[in-house]
Symmetry: C2
Subunit: 478 residues, 2 copies
Amino acid sequence: MAGKQKFVSEITDMDKDFAQWYTDVVKKAELVDYASVKGCMIIKPYGYAIWELIQQQLDKRFKETGHVNVYMPMFIPESLLEKEKDHVEGFAPEVAWVTHGGKEQLAERLCVRPTSETLFCDHYAKEIQSHRDLPKLYNQWCSVVRWEKTTRPFLRTTEFLWQEGHTAHATAEEAEEETVRMLNVYSEFCENVLAIPVVKGQKTEKEKFAGAKATYTIESLMHDGKALQSGTSHNFGDGFAKAFGIQYTDKNNQLQYVHQTSWGMTTRLIGALIMVHGDNSGLVLPPAIAPVQVMIIPVAQHKEGVLDKAYELKAKLQEVGRIKVDDSDKSPGWKFSEHEMKGVPVRLEIGPKDIEANQAVLARRDTGEKVVVSLDHIQEEVTKLLTAMQKEMLEKARNHREAHTYSATTMEEFTKTVEETPGFVKAMWCGDEACENKIKEETGATSRCMPFEQEEIAKTCICCGKPAKKMVYWGKAY
Amino acid sequence: MAGKQKFVSEITDMDKDFAQWYTDVVKKAELVDYASVKGCMIIKPYGYAIWELIQQQLDKRFKETGHVNVYMPMFIPESLLEKEKDHVEGFAPEVAWVTHGGKEQLAERLCVRPTSETLFCDHYAKEIQSHRDLPKLYNQWCSVVRWEKTTRPFLRTTEFLWQEGHTAHATAEEAEEETVRMLNVYSEFCENVLAIPVVKGQKTEKEKFAGAKATYTIESLMHDGKALQSGTSHNFGDGFAKAFGIQYTDKNNQLQYVHQTSWGMTTRLIGALIMVHGDNSGLVLPPAIAPVQVMIIPVAQHKEGVLDKAYELKAKLQEVGRIKVDDSDKSPGWKFSEHEMKGVPVRLEIGPKDIEANQAVLARRDTGEKVVVSLDHIQEEVTKLLTAMQKEMLEKARNHREAHTYSATTMEEFTKTVEETPGFVKAMWCGDEACENKIKEETGATSRCMPFEQEEIAKTCICCGKPAKKMVYWGKAY
């Protein structure tokens, strides 16, 4: 029987083979399964529960900042995709094309949306007439498709889930404010909910979004020292407005083009959670995003009163968090390993001796620390522990990032750092794309962002020696 | 300026041209816009807010009955769709086919999911090994595509939003219980939340879902006397399990096939809301599903203290519902018409004289009734009004349905009823598909369902005169 079986918790050592460790965790923590279509994923109940919490907490922030949700069709006619030159060049090579509906060939091919700028623009051109119609602050939750050659669950998949905000404003200033506002919503969410510290900055011309005037990004650092772009916010200026004819009459009755933004976050964030917080026992979830915050494990549950006490504790603790009792017939040891693998923040052990002593054992997933607490104060103790854990997980991740952020002033130093000590490398840049390309070719590191918080590490570009314009975060990235 | 303009509230008279009235309402209440792809719709903020409330309240019910959410890919390989014979015959003629990814032609065509039975079965075949893995109670929220020839917003669109539950059980009995359980969840939701009464019953062989052993349905009646299939729940037996090889070892270590169900509700429900409750001033929403339950309209809002009082009332009422203040510079008359068109259940008028008298005017959208209430009891009065409205809207809809439910015992009577007094027609049936087809050909009415609550109206089939097996609800339908 299961009670005699051992939970197969062996996963690859993360410091030996991080990629295999990642694959083991997504599988063993029951986050995803592979689908029959290459590059697509099945998001299983536990993985989807994390996504639902991400959605709820982001959506709340979007609504608090005045945004409303809508739904646009999943298909874009080829002619519509082609309306903005840079945009179609960026996306056309990687879209899925629908050519037949039922038994008939379509007069025009439709692509499955890789992103919905063109659909929102087409709609805005009809909806926006007057300055009274502005701003438009729309968001949508949906799935998008990009035909990727190499894929990995959550990090790069042919289909993924995301939200895409699309806004239209009367002035360039308002559009810029919105772009920055949403980047700040993203960074606050990453730090306070996901416990993932981020670097905020601007993408270079080379790395910016197809069709954008400026792309802002938040970049986080994974356990293995590789960077992950975790959210982007784009200022389109009036480029799309001109391509799609989105105009309004201002207060002086003059026709003006609108200024637009878009911003998105995806299921990729689940990949970030795994790679920032995970360890050799599996996933570690910050309490704010954990589908189960406290798993109650009855010890010797066949003994009288143990299960009743476990349910009683659950009822009490539900007022302060998301709580479950594992009353299955697996052994406590099996249960310990299984919920460790799934990254449940706190394990509460309760057995006959604990009940006699009016106490319970609380075990923290991140540090392994165990404390014995009185049942009289169980709500306060659990709340205290979850709060501390949320805070300390962010601190730990920040310390890891600081410890893996380097700076370089010569190409030799840069190359050596990238090779030997993976992480962010801060280095000066002249602003020339040729240098950016050369650095990528020679070291494999890409420009992650020009951080808003600039430092002058040197006077000259690390690559060509010409006067430097910006300090850039570089790194290998997912 | 807007203050001087008149809100264009003229819509087609619903009793003169119901189809045009419907089109006017979806447009003027700002529920949808037409998309660049034929048959697809853009769900605008107000329409989507209704959908979000439907989602929240259904999802809560699914979770309370033990279901969890997952996400399956949107693409189905052609070979997978073909695995269950009846299913592929039912859906293949109306799917969208992806043939190219980026610049390359795919080795195998992929269809955009019209429904996801095949994907869930493929997954279950891998996931289910033992009786310990059962039941599987999965649901997903997503969009699906069916290539429709003639479309109407919400009622029949090429792409629509829905939820699809897919479950697997150890025994035929458990699958049957689940099928009925979810039909009951649907009917309770329709009646208590949407205020739409439904007839519960079973579809005939001809009308059942492609691949199902039995399809149960809830049927509602629109204002014009046409029926709308509002939700279906299917019992698949072990047909899909055999086609996909979904087997488990039971407690006696014997291999068994699972028994499956699926059930779905769609954005079509918004169409039902419009057509059951709407009137010649536009939409009428039951409070439980209204994005704004009370719209506060300040009268003479430029006068000192009026807007402040309106915000104060909003703050107070937010504890009991979804409340907004319309503080735009439109005239009160414009605002009245606009929020009437959008079906806001209660309008609260507050002006200088009301403030002086410590009172407000509450106007009900459904009956037009106005009451003057004291501000001292405003929370209780609003709650009372919303509760009464929710209850009375269901009663009104039920009375309408009763008044438009007829019975017939001869074909002559049947034909006359269908032609002259649109509604449900109850009539006996022998169970033979030939009679069902003949009735459809001659009258345009289809079998809506064999209701669970049977009555013996006559002994013989209305069509052929042979002994009758079932009493059937017939009617023209959307």
